[in-house]
Symmetry: C3
Subunit: 341 residues, 3 copies
C-alpha cells in the first residue's frame, strides 16, 4: 500500500533553475502553497504563498526589488518572510511574517526543505552534476500529474515496464525477462539490469546511430523520498572497445503537490553528440513522449485506487518489486522517524 | 428514499452486444471497473479492469488472441482471469489472477453477474427476444447519465410524466389523469394504463401514420433491479379490427456505474414498418430525444438530492407511486437477502 | 476565522428587480434551491425549487398565469406554494406544498427572508433609495463568485485595499495609510476614511472630470449579514464651495449561494452627469472591472483556505480589521440568537 503522507524533513526539487526568476511563481508543494522568485542578486527565495493577514496568495502581488508586496492590502514582505511595512499602520508586529522555506540550488535544480530548518543538511542532496556539466548534453521538461508521487517512484524502480509501456520507442523484447539485482546501501536503492546481445530500440538508433544487437546497461538509483537517476548505456554487442559506447543519465524528480497530484521534473544528460541540436531536439521530444506515457499510466492507476478509498484493492507483489517495496519502506521509516523525533 | 446500495447477486445489462468486440471496452459497473471483449470464437469476456499487480486498467493493454496483456508490465491474463505469464519471472503464482465476471448474452444484450457466481441463474434473465426477432424492427442507443440508477427506474414506472416531460412528442393531454393498475406477481411489477379515445401524439402520427383519436395501450413492466419493458400499442378509436394496430416494446436497461451515475441502454422494437429505413431513422432519433429528456430530469433531480446529503429532502408519494415504491421495496428486499445470506 | 453558517432570520438580496419576470429564474440561496418569478400583477414570488413529489426543480416546469406546473408529473403549485392540482389523482392532500419564501421588493432589489416567516420585519431592510431615485444615475451588475460570502463582506469593510488591488483605476497612493474610524451604532458598522489633498485616481478623472489633488470622502457602511453602502465623494482640494463635489453610493449585496459560493449584486448611484450615457457606460464597465478584482481576490483566498479545511491557516489581524472583525461578531451573534431562540 502506498504511503499516506510525505516526510517533510527532506529535500525535494521545487523547480528547474530556469523556472525561477523575477516573475512570481506559484506552486503547490507537499500540500502547501509556495511562491518562488529570485532576489536581484540571483538568490532564489521560497515563501509560503499566503499572506498572514487574509490568506491572499502572495504570487498575485508585486515584486519590489527583493521584496513581495501583497496585492491585497500592500503588506511588504522581505526575502526572509518578515513584514517590513504594513501600509495601514505604522507598527509592524513581529508576528507579521510568513514561513520562508530553505532552498538549495545546484546543477540546474532548486531544492526545497519544508520541514524543520534546523535539520536541513545540504550534504543530503545527491550528486546530479551531469545536468550542467559541459561534457554532457542536457534537455529537460516537467509535468504536473494527477497522481500521487509514489506511483511514479515505483514506475522508475521497476523498468521492466519499458518493454510494454514504451514499446516502439525505448522498449524492446526481452527487457522484462532479464533478471535484476536490487541493492540498498543504507542510502540508495539500486536496481541493475545489464542486458547483453539485445535488440537496439528504435529511439536509440535515432539518437545514437547504433543499429543491430547491443549490450544495454540500465541502473535505476533511488534517493528517497523523490529523486532518481537512471543510468543507461548502449554499445554494439561484441564491440571490443568502448569508444562507441553511449551513456545517458535520466534524472527524475518527483515532488508531491497535493495528496493526489505530483510534480515531475526531468532532465536527460547524454555524453554523445552533445552539441548536435537536432539530437537535442529529438531527445527532448522523445523523452517528453516516453515520460508522458509514465504519467498517463500513473494517472490511470490513481483513478482506480482513488475510487476504492479508504479501502485499497488487493495487490500482488512480484520479484521485480523488491525495489519499489524498498522505496515504500524507506518512506515509512522517514515518516516514523519524524513522528518519533 | 432511494436505496443506498445495489444488489450484486443479480443480472445487469453490461452492454449492447454490438459494443463488445475485439477492442477492449472500459466501463464502470456497480462501482467496479470492468473490461469487456470478445474471444476469437465470439464469446464475450468481462474481467475486473485492474491488474492485480499495480492496478493498471487492463483496458489500456493489448488483446492477444483470447488474452489480455497488461500495458504496464506485460502480465498476460487469459479469459478466465488467470495470469499465464509474468514477463519478469518464470513462476506464475496462483494468486496472480483477476476477477472474471459471468456473462450471459442473448437477444442483443450482454448481461453481467457481479456477485457470487454460484448463485448465478441464467433463467432469471427476462425474455426480451423482440430485440433480435426478425418480425420486429429495432433501434437502440445508450446514455451514461449523471444520476443514480433508481431515479430512472422510477421514471419508467410512473409514465404519467409523458404528458409533461414529453409534451409535443409522445405526450398528450389526459394521459396522467387516466388511472393505472399496479400489480406484482412475485417477480414483475406491472403498471397498466389503458387509454381509450385519446389524442394521437405527434410522434405516433409521424412513425405510425395514425391521426385523430386513438386507443393507446401502455403497460410498464419492471424486472428488478434494472430491467424494464414498456409495452405500447395504438389503434384508431372505434376501428373494428386490429389490422391497423401498431405495437412497440421499449426496453430499458438501467445499470449503476458508480454511486451517482448509471448506464442507460435502450432498445425499441416495433411490429410495423419494420423494413422502412426512414421510420427506423425517425424512431432512433425520436427515442433518443425522448429518453434524453428522462436523463435530463434524472440528472436535475440528482443535483438537488446530492446537495442535501446525507440528509434527504422531504418527499411526498402519490397514488401513482405504487409502482416506484414497489421497486424500492424489491431492491431493499434483495439487499436484505444478500446481507442475510 | 470566518463564520461557518449563515443566519436565516434575516433579509438577503435574492435578485435585482429586473432579473425577476415571467421566466422562471433558478438560483441557489443559503444552501437552498429557489425559483423566482412574477405573478401577472407583477408581484415577485419565491418558492423552494424542488417539487415535493420527486425533487424535480420547478424552474424546469412551466409558468401558467400565477402558477408553476412541474415539468415532470404536472403538479400545479400556486404562488403560495400550495398544490392546486395533481394530474394523476383527484385528491390534493394538504401536505402537497412547497416552501414559499417571503419577498420584499423596494428600490430595485428583491429581498428574501428564508427563516421563520413570523420573525420577518420589513423595517429591517436598509434604505437604499438612491438606486431608483431620479436624482441619481445608477448602473448595476452581478457575479456568482466561487468564494464564501464573508470574504467579500470583509473586503468591503477594509478599503485600504483600493491602493493595491485597484491601483490604476480607483486606487492611489496614500489611501491605505490614511487612518480610519470604525463605529458601531448597534445596527450599522461604519468605517470612515476622509482623505484630504490626495491624488485624484484615473477613473475619477474619467467620469467626474476632476484632475489634480482632491479631498476624497469614503464611508463604508455594513448592515449585517450582507448589505453594504460605500459612500464616496470627491472635490478639488481647496475648492471654496461644494458645487463641484461629486457623490457616489456603491451598493453591494452579498448573499451566500452554497457554502463556498456567493452572489454579489451591485448597484452604483452617482449624483453627477446622471443623464450622460457615455458616463453611465464608463461607470458600468469600470465598476464591473473593479468589482471583478474583488471577486478574483476572494476566489484566490477561498482556494487557499478551502485546501486547509477543516483546519484554518494562521491569521493575523491588523488595526484596520476593526470593521471586518465587528462584522464577524455580528454574524456570530445572529447565529447564536437563532440557536437560542
Amino acid at each position: 500500500m502506498y504511503p499516506e503522507s510525505y516526510p517533510r524533513n527532506q529535500w525535494y526539487v521545487a523547480a528547474h533553475s530556469d523556472e525561477v526568476g523575477r516573475t512570481l511563481l506559484d506552486r503547490w508543494l507537499l500540500d502547501e502553497p509556495v511562491v518562488l522568485y529570485r532576489k536581484l542578486d540571483g538568490t532564489p527565495v521560497a515563501l509560503v504563498n499566503r499572506c498572514i493577514h487574509r490568506q491572499m496568495p502572495l504570487s498575485l502581488g508585486r515584486l519590489k526589488d527583493d521584496r513581495i508586496e501583497c496585492g491585497y492590502h500592500g503588506i511588504l514582505y522581505n526575502a526572509e518572510g518578515r513584514a517590513e511595512r504594513i501600509p495601514s499602520q505604522p507598527h509592524v508586529p513581529p508576528a507579521c511574517r510568513v514561513t520562508r522555506f530553505l532552498l538549495f540550488e545546484r546543477w540546474g535544480l532548486v531544492w526545497i526543505w519544508m520541514g524543520d530548518p534546523d535539520k536541513a543538511d545540504e550534504g543530503l542532496v545527491p550528486d546530479h552534476h551531469w545536468i550542467t556539466d559541459p561534457e554532457w548534453g542536457t534537455v529537460r521538461g516537467s509535468f504536473l500529474m494527477k497522481a500521487r508521487a509514489q506511483l511514479l517512484n515505483e514506475n522508475l524502480l521497476d523498468l521492466s515496464h519499458l518493454e510494454f509501456l514504451h514499446a516502439g520507442s525505448i522498449g524492446t523484447d526481452k527487457i522484462a525477462e532479464t533478471p535484476v539485482t536490487t541493492e540498498f546501501d543504507g542510502r540508495v536503492v539500486r536496481v541493475s539490469r545489464p542486458m547483453y546481445d539485445i535488440d537496439c530500440p528504435p529511439f536509440f538508433t535515432k539518437v545514437m546511430g547504433i543499429t543491430g544487437r547491443i549490450d544495454r546497461g540500465q541502473v535505476a538509483e533511488y534517493f528517497a523520498p523523490g529523486f532518481h537517476i537512471t543510468h543507461v548505456s548502449a554499445k554494439p554487442t561484441g564491440d571490443p572497445d568502448d569508444s562507441r559506447k553511449c551513456s545517458q543519465k535520466a534524472i527524475h524528480c518527483v515532488t508531491p503537490a497535493r495528496r493526489n497530484t505530483a510534480h515531475y521534473f526531468w532532465c536527460h544528460a547524454r555524453d554523445y553528440k552533445i552539441d548536435d541540436l537536432k539530437v537535442a531536439q529529438l531527445m527532448r521530444q522523445g523523452m517528453q513522449t516516453v515520460f508522458q506515457q509514465d504519467v498517463d499510466a500513473s494517472e490511470a492507476i490513481e483513478e482506480i485506487i482513488s475510487s476504492y478509498e479508504p479501502a485499497y484493492p488487493i495487490e500482488l507483489n512480484l520479484k521485480v518489486d523488491a525495489g519499489p517495496l524498498q522505496a515504500r519502506r524507506l518512506i515509512q521509516q522517514m515518516l516514523a522517524a519524524e513522528k518519533a523525533g
